[in-house]
C-alpha cells in the first residue's frame, strides 16, 4: 500500500467504517509510515474541531416559533409538495388575506403556548437531550482528559462559569466528552460520563430557583443546607441543585435514590472557583 492509497483508509479508520481486513491493512501501514501517522493525527484533530464547531451553531429561537406557526398551515393529508419557485413558504403566506393569517395565529396560539415550555425549560431539555448525547446524536466532542475538557467548556462560555466536574470513578464512571448547548440564549455546559454504570450527563448553567421545573420534588439536605430537586421523564431521572449562581443537573437512568445520593455526596455549599 502506498501513501496515496492509504488516505481514504485513514479517513474511514477515523470514522470506524473499515472492515477488519482493511483496518488491519491500514494499521500495518501506519506502523511503518511516519507521514501517514501525522496525516492520521491531523485528520483526527480536524474531525474533533469540526464537531466542536458544529455545536456552536444552533437554531435561532425565532425560527422555532416561525416554524411552529407555519406548520399549522400545512394540510394534514397529502405527500411532499410539488416544485415551487424558490422557498415559497413565506411568500405563500404573504399572498393570503391578512385576516386569514390572523385567524390562523389565533388558532395556533394554544399549540405554540403548549410547545413553549419545552423550548425554555432547561431541566426538561436536560432529560430529553441526555439520550441523544449518550448516542452522540447531538454535536459532541470526545475528550477523556478531564482538565482539557473542563478548559474547553470553560472557554466556550468565556470563563463566566465552569462545568461542575465530579470524580465518579467509585461508580465506574469517567468523563469521556462534552458539548455546549444553548436554550433561549443561555449556554449550558454538558459533560458525559461513561463506564460500567449507566451513563450520566452533568449539565451546568447560570440560573436561579426559577429554573426548577414545576413537577419537581424538593429534598433538603439538612447537613449541607442545599435544596435538591428531583424530576423524571421516560425513565430518565434528573437531580438539580444550585451552588451560588451555578446550577447543576445530573441526569441518568440510574434509580432516583441512587442519583439523589450521588448528587448529595458531590454537591458543595459554595460555588467552585472559576
Amino acid at each position: 500500500m502506498n501513501c496515496e492509497e492509504a488516505q481514504e483508509l485513514i479517513t474511514a479508520l477515523i470514522d470506524d467504517e473499515l472492515s477488519e481486513r482493511e483496518s488491519a491493512s491500514i494499521k500495518s501501514h501506519l506502523e511503518q509510515c511516519v507521514r501517514c501517522q501525522a496525516m492520521h493525527q491531523q485528520e483526527r484533530a480536524l474531525k474533533a474541531e469540526v464537531r466542536m464547531a458544529a455545536a456552536s451553531v444552533t437554531a435561532p429561537a425565532d425560527l422555532r416559533k416561525k416554524i411552529l406557526l407555519g406548520l399549522g398551515s400545512v394540510p394534514e393529508q397529502g405527500g411532499i409538495p410539488k416544485e415551487r419557485e424558490g422557498p415559497g413558504w413565506l411568500s405563500q403566506l404573504a399572498l393570503r388575506p391578512v385576516f386569514v393569517f390572523a385567524l390562523l395565529l389565533l388558532l395556533l396560539l394554544p399549540a405554540v403556548y403548549l410547545m413553549r415550555p419545552k423550548e425554555l425549560s432547561i431541566p426538561l431539555f436536560a432529560l430529553e437531550s441526555h439520550q441523544k448525547i449518550v448516542e452522540r446524536s447531538l454535536a459532541y466532542v470526545a475528550e477523556e482528559n478531564e482538565e482539557k475538557l473542563k478548559a474547553e467548556l470553560l472557554r466556550s462560555v468565556e470563563g463566566r462559569f465552569a462545568p461542575m466536574g465530579y470524580d465518579l470513578s467509585m461508580m465506574g464512571l469517567r468523563p469521556v466528552g462534552g458539548t455546549v448547548q444553548e436554550i433561549s440564549g443561555r449556554k449550558i455546559l454538558v459533560t458525559l460520563y461513561e463506564g460500567t454504570a449507566p451513563s450520566l450527563t452533568c449539565y451546568t448553567f447560570l440560573g436561579t430557583e426559577g429554573d426548577v421545573p414545576k413537577e419537581a420534588a424538593l429534598f433538603t439536605d439538612p447537613e449541607k443546607r442545599i435544596d435538591f430537586y428531583t424530576f423524571s421523564r421516560g425513565g430518565v431521572n434528573g437531580v438539580m441543585h444550585r451552588e451560588g449562581k451555578v446550577i447543576c443537573i445530573l441526569v441518568s437512568k440510574l434509580p432516583m435514590p441512587e442519583l439523589l445520593a450521588l448528587a448529595r455526596s458531590k454537591a458543595q455549599p459554595t460555588p467552585p472557583p472559576l
Partner: protein
C-alpha cells in the same frame, strides 16, 4: 437503510414534537449549505413544511433525523443548486479548485455576527474554511462529522454510492486541512497537499 431507531411517533402532534428536537441539527446543516442566514432559515422552514406534509410516509422506528436531512438536502439541491449534485465519479483534486457550482457564489468570509456562536474564534475559522471548499466535498463532512451519520446514511441522503462518500470525505478533509494550515496540527510538509 438507517441504523438508529427512535421513539415511534403517534400521529401528527407526536411527529411534530420529535421533529422540533432536530431543529438545531437541521439549521446546522442549512447554515453550512446556504449563502446566508436568511436562506438557511428558509431551507429549514421548507424542510419542516415538507416533512409534516409527508409525515404519514415516515416509517416509525426508522431514523427520523436521516429522513429529515434527506428532505433538506433534496430541497436544497432542487432549489439552490442548478447542477447535478455529483458532477462525476472522479474527484476534482486540483489545488484551489473552488468548483463551478452554487458555492462559488458563497462569500468566503464569515457571514457576520451569529448570536448562537459559542467558541467563536474556532467556529468561525472552521465555518470560513468549510465555505471555501467545493460543495461535493463539503456535504459529506457536514453529514458525517457534524451530523454523526454513518457513511451508509450519508450515501442514502446524498443518493450516491458509499464509496463516493468515503472518497469525497477523505478529499474534503484534506482540502479543509489546507485551508486551516497553521491552525490544525499540520502533518509533515507536503502530506496534506498530496
Amino acid at each position: 437503510m438507517v441504523r438508529e431507531g427512535r421513539a415511534q411517533p403517534e400521529g401528527r402532534e407526536a411527529f411534530l414534537q420529535e421533529l422540533m428536537t432536530y431543529m438545531d441539527h437541521l439549521y446546522r446543516m442549512a447554515f453550512h449549505l446556504a449563502k446566508e442566514r436568511d436562506e438557511a432559515q428558509d431551507i429549514v422552514q421548507e424542510t419542516c413544511v415538507r416533512a409534516l406534509a409527508a409525515y404519514e410516509q415516515f416509517t416509525p422506528g426508522t431514523n427520523m433525523k436521516a429522513w429529515l436531512t434527506k428532505i433538506l438536502y433534496n430541497f436544497f439541491f432542487d432549489h439552490f443548486h442548478q447542477k447535478k449534485r455529483w458532477i462525476s465519479v472522479e474527484d476534482r483534486t486540483g489545488e484551489g479548485d473552488e468548483g463551478s457550482d452554487y458555492w462559488d457564489r458563497v462569500p468566503a468570509q464569515n457571514p457576520g455576527p451569529e448570536s448562537h456562536i459559542l467558541l467563536k474564534e474556532r467556529s468561525a475559522k472552521i465555518t470560513d474554511a468549510l465555505r471555501k471548499i467545493p460543495g461535493e466535498f463539503r456535504a459529506p463532512i457536514l453529514l458525517v462529522d457534524m451530523g454523526d451519520f454513518s457513511y451508509a446514511e450519508a450515501a442514502e441522503i446524498l443518493s450516491c454510492p458509499v464509496g463516493t462518500v468515503r472518497s469525497r470525505l477523505s478529499r474534503g478533509r484534506r482540502l479543509l486541512a489546507n485551508h486551516l494550515k497553521g491552525y490544525i496540527g499540520a502533518p509533515e510538509k507536503g502530506a496534506a497537499e498530496k
